[in-house]
Amino acid sequence: MIWDQAFALSIIPKLLQGLRVTVEITLLGFAIAAVLGLAVAIVRRIRVPVVARLFDFYVLFIRGTPLLVQAYTAFFVLPDLGIRFSALTTGIVIMGVNYSAYCAEVYRAGIEDVPPGQWEAATALSLPGTTTWGRVVLPQAVRSVVPVLGNYLVQMFKDSAVLSAITVFELLNAAQSIGSSNFRYLEPLTLAGLLFFLVSFPASYLFRTLERRLAPAR
């Protein structure tokens, strides 16, 4: 098979549409993951009765099952139970929920890294719990995990290709549909891979720089 330059150029707009959806899923999914993960981490740390146990199981369960299975179940099984959302919405929520379990573990490490003396100083100053968390612990905990969260963002960007399996029209799905309707897979899949790389490489680089920047903070 020989590279067809004219064909390759002609499919770029359609691939870019797919890329847009991929980026959308990544950003919205990550927002869910970052917030939900933080909530899970805090509840588990405070050991809120019952809820903390539930969240322990939540993290264990989500990390113990494949993303693809979760996406399939949410899209093909839940509608039978009357829970029905568009493929895109389902995809975003599933990505967010899946990554929230990983983010929760990252936050947990960040929180554990805050020295006990910081909590003790907060107690000695009679700071209320919300201030201790919001002004003392989290700023230090989150700062130390930003690079790791950044890597998850990049990984999520690539993982979103899984959602092509539940008909989300993201970058990989766009490439596949171009391929099947033109009987040419070389150009669309190569270009899709290239587009993934063009976004994830600079992003990874950025987070690595950020890691060096944030490291000597303490």
Binding site: G117, Q118, A124, L125, L127, T131, R143
Partner: protein, 279 residues
């Protein structure tokens, strides 16, 4: 090293200590009643009972691991006793029956407001400037107006000689400077009781003097009750009204500084002082 010549006349200090035990003086600021605490098999406090009167400056001396720091940590509610009653300024901080789980009460929180603590490791908030470190609690806890809190924090930094560093974050400050900021931070809450937990043990020798200077100034110029765990024997002798020798979870001996340091009654105190003063 602090100069002994700076210290007030020993006679006045003795009378201060004596009047502290006089019954007609106002109520004690701190009381410990049968307070016990164990870590596993290690009993760090054995039915400890003592009182500190308002304005008294008390130093606690004794070998490492003898439970000195635990006394301060119980007063700051960083540790709970296994049993016993602790009060601060007439309010119950702890009232623990043996075998029961201690709980955080409203009264405990109110009592805790009267106590401030300076830690061995400073424990400043590293992501905040010196000024922000001091302003945080007055704004968030005392609901002080931000500008008023800033003015007070500036004043306190001036007092500890760090006006020039108010915009610096702790990692940019030396250990001695950090500890002085930490003292200012504790003072900003206007505590009635200040606890000093080996405030100079984490410092390089050349930085100890500046921190002791600030504490000395506080001891001489305020009516705060001060409780200090320290290994700086000369300093303890100089600023304290009373010195308590502590070992194996018990008070071995207590008295005016010149009694404890010059003429200890107990053999254990003599041994300890000999060991630390000889090094």
């Amino acid at each position: 090293m602090p100069q002994l010549a700076d210290s007030p006349d020993p006679a006045t200090r003795t009378s201060a200590a004596d009047s502290a035990s006089a019954p007609d003086r106002s109520k004690p600021m701190i009381t410990f009643e049968n307070v016990s605490k164990s870590w596993g098999d290690n009993e760090v406090l054995k039915t400890l009972t003592f009182e500190v009167m308002p304005g008294e400056k008390v130093s606690i001396i004794g070998p490492s691991g003898s439970g000195k720091t635990t006394i301060l940590r119980i007063l700051m509610t960083l540790e709970s006793p296994d049993s016993g009653v602790v009060t601060v300024n007439g309010k119950t901080l702890w009232d623990v029956k043996p075998g029961t789980k201690p709980r955080e009460t409203k009264e405990m929180k109110a009592a805790r407001r009267d106590v401030g603590m300076v830690f061995q490791q400073f424990n400043l908030f590293p992501h905040m400037t010196a000024l922000e470190n001091i302003m945080e609690a007055p704004v968030k806890v005392l609901k002080m107006d931000k500008e008023a809190a800033r003015a007070r924090a500036t004043e306190l930094l001036e007092m500890v000689g760090l006006s020039k560093h108010m915009g610096h974050r702790p990692p940019k400050l030396s250990g001695g400077q950090q500890q002085r900021v930490a003292i200012a931070r504790a003072l900003a809450m206007r505590p009635k009781v200040m606890l000093f937990d080996e405030p100079t043990s984490a410092l390089d020798p050349e930085l100890i003097g500046e921190v002791l200077g600030v504490i000395r100034e506080l001891a001489h110029s305020t009516d705060m009750t001060m409780l200090m765990v320290t290994h700086e024997m000369r300093f303890a002798e100089e600023i304290s009204d009373r010195v308590t020798m502590f070992d194996h979870g018990r008070v071995v001996e207590r008295g005016a500084p010149h009694e404890i340091f010059k003429n200890p009654k107990e053999e254990r105190t003599r041994q300890f002082l000999k060991a630390v003063l000889e090094h």
